[in-house]
Symmetry: C2
Subunit: 235 residues, 2 copies
């Protein structure tokens, strides 16, 4: 039987401040939990409304699961994992940087794309949505267990960085006329605001995805733009 | 003053059956409405909680707008446009086909991608979510005004079709080793079910987006896959 205190502890992890205090986050769904376990995460707790052959669970009833879950239709399994300690950013590989992404679904999709295309590290501006937000975790479908997500001031980062930097803009060199070095930085801004003005001096190349149609959308969604850029650069 | 009857007429258009009976659909937001007007759509009605310099509106109060709107935070403008009459599919250009896409956001993103990459016609299986569903319309950000969306039985279509057909699968030829002819069909299935088994004999090429990482996601979201394929094929 889960205690009231434990139930509150899990529910509180939906809030960023509490996650930071507890250094823990929630993962829902069998497949996602298995991905974190396979990646070496040591669970603080795994709750289940039923048993699993893949991992041992603390049994809870459905009302308790419903309270802990952030999903409309809760999965039978919910785990609490520790937030990994921050680590240094690599200096000799491909790195994706996102500036001020507020939509959890977009960040989740981008983490999944990094996982697909072998980008191991994602750097986010401090204003970007927390990668341990339940909606982001859900959208990554387990990829968050394999991609390291960092948060840091981007001006500070670029001042130290010596890799070439490709920033995506509405106007710039076509991505199709460029090769992406095996050690380089790709920067994506939000669809509404683009890359912050103060980061502009650090861009080695301002790049764009050419629009084929004469009339058409003014811009692309940031997750879509990430898919096209990574699909081209990491082929 | 909007009448009760008119209010009900607009509210009913959130339901597919009613949209089909009335041959009309709702577009919300100034920019999207302008896109449909620019594309030559003749509005059946435009409602506004305020006036616009871009088009004339029938003034409604905020409670009425809130009732008509499908958005949490309604825009000040909402228009009703006629569903265009169905037209023949082109036989000598690039065509995108989607099989059993149920998520409105994914269909909306794909319509926007078609618009960006100059794909003028999208063919959907009858089980695919209705493109005039309010969530789809919203996600297309006006692109639905420029892309023609068709619904038809896909077996019937492929039996008549003489263009090469590129079907996306989890395994197949790498998209990067192929060129996409200027007249060809690209087929995307749902992430969960892929392309229906019965369509398999019609595929000229079974293609895939190679995964770079050794471990990683099993599949990509269909809108992400569309972005990568179109970004490569329509460059």
């Amino acid at each position: 039987m889960i205690t009231k205190k434990e139930l509150k502890w899990v529910c509180d992890l939906q809030i960023k401040k509490k996650r930071q205090e507890e250094k823990a986050f929630v993962v829902e769904g069998k497949k996602s939990i298995e991905a974190f376990l396979a990646a070496g995460y040591q669970p603080k707790a795994i709750y289940g409304t039923t048993n699993s052959s893949a991992f041992s669970v603390e049994t809870v009833n459905e009302p308790a699961m419903k309270r802990m879950s952030s999903l409309k239709n809760p999965s039978p399994f919910l785990a609490v994992f520790p937030i990994p300690a921050s680590m240094a950013l690599p200096t000799q590989e491909r790195l994706l940087v996102v500036d001020q992404l507020t939509d959890p679904g977009n960040l989740g999709t981008i983490i999944r794309l990094c996982d697909w295309f072998g980008i191991n590290h994602l750097l986010c501006s401090p204003q970007t949505v927390d990668c341990y937000n339940p909606k982001v975790v859900q959208a990554t479908m387990g990829s968050l267990s394999r991609v390291k997500v960092h948060y840091a001031d981007l001006v500070d980062f670029f001042q130290e960085n010596s890799l070439p930097v490709f920033g995506t803009y509405l106007e710039g060199e076509s991505i199709y006329s460029l090769d992406f070095p095996t050690a380089a930085v790709l920067v994506l801004g939000s669809e509404a605001h683009g890359i912050s003005e103060e980061l502009s001096p650090f861009m080695t190349n301002k790049i764009t995805i050419p629009r084929k149609s004469s009339v058409g959308p003014e811009s692309l969604n940031v997750a879509t733009a990430a898919a096209i850029c990574l699909g081209h650069f990491c082929r």
